[in-house]
């Protein structure tokens, strides 16, 4: 999970190019332990990247790959 301490460790270039909802390793980094999308203050990525990540999380949730709520 992304935390305030690790907020600069994300690979932003990769996300900006394309954020795939099937890439669960990446998607799970932006989800809290209760299954909620981590806010930008903690994820530490630019606005555009955060939007792409959020969309990927929502798609993964819809397809039953990650839970809506834990």
């Amino acid at each position: 999970m992304a935390t305030y301490q690790h907020r600069k460790n994300q690979n932003t270039d990769k996300i900006l190019r394309f954020c795939d909802y099937k890439d669960l390793w990446l998607v799970k980094k932006f989800v809290s332990q209760w299954g909620r999308i981590v806010p930008r203050y903690y994820s530490g990525v630019p606005v555009q990247a955060q939007k792409k990540v959020a969309l990927a999380v929502k798609r993964a949730r819809f397809m039953g790959l990650i839970p809506f709520v834990k």
Partner: protein, 207 residues
């Protein structure tokens, strides 16, 4: 509608479909073939596909706890996409589906490919963590460097003692100024040193 499809009309899409876990092996194959048949209508072309083994859902979907995930990367004429989605939703009897337009220069990777990559990354991270811990342990277990002992000033054996430090006279009524720290040599130690040297210098005693 024109039967001949101009290549410019084709667009790349990605379709993920969840199939029922009740399907037997031949039924599953037949279903995948049926899907392929639908996707190749109107000049559509399948570029890549993936069929995962049965997989648990994160939550219950239509009274199922698990299902087969089938993913297709294909090109399809834009004008027939709505029709295609309708067919998949109504006629194919799938548990759930997701149809997306692919971005430019899209490289298809399936769920299993990503899972393999994630496993590799996890192992790499674990190794890095282990190496870091080991380095930390090594650093802690290394003995601390012994502090260099300052050389003692030469002393006469006549028995005179050199005072370690002169008492500083304090002016009365004034605020005490910070005194720089001076390493004091203990007088007892000096005495012991003198005695030892006297014994060593004694010509009567042979070692």
């Amino acid at each position: 509608m024109a039967d001949v499809v101009v290549p410019e009309d084709l667009r790349e899409y990605e379709l993920m479909v969840i199939l029922s876990p009740d399907l037997t092996d031949p039924e599953l194959k037949a279903k995948v073939q049926e899907l392929k048949g639908v996707l190749t209508q109107h000049g559509g072309k399948i570029l890549a596909q993936e069929l995962t083994p049965i997989r648990d859902f994160a939550y219950r979907i239509k009274k199922y706890d698990r299902g087969f995930y089938v993913t297709f990367h294909f090109s399809y004429p834009q004008e027939f996409v709505n029709e295609l989605e309708k067919i998949i939703r109504i006629e194919m009897g799938v548990v759930r589906h997701l149809l997306l337009v692919c971005p430019k220069n899209y490289e298809f990777k399936g769920l299993m490919v990503y899972a393999e990559e994630a496993e590799g990354m996890r192992l790499k991270e674990m190794e890095e963590k282990k190496a870091k811990e080991q380095a930390d342990m090594d650093r802690r277990s290394r003995p601390a460097r012994p502090a260099a002992r300052p050389e003692k000033p030469e002393q006469d054996t006549s028995g005179k003692e050199i005072p370690a430090s002169k008492p500083v006279e304090q002016p009365v009524g004034k605020k005490e100024a910070p005194v720089p720290h001076v390493r004091e040599v203990k007088p007892e130690l000096n005495k012991v040193d003198e005695q030892l040297k006297a014994i060593l210098d004694n010509p009567d005693i042979q070692l």
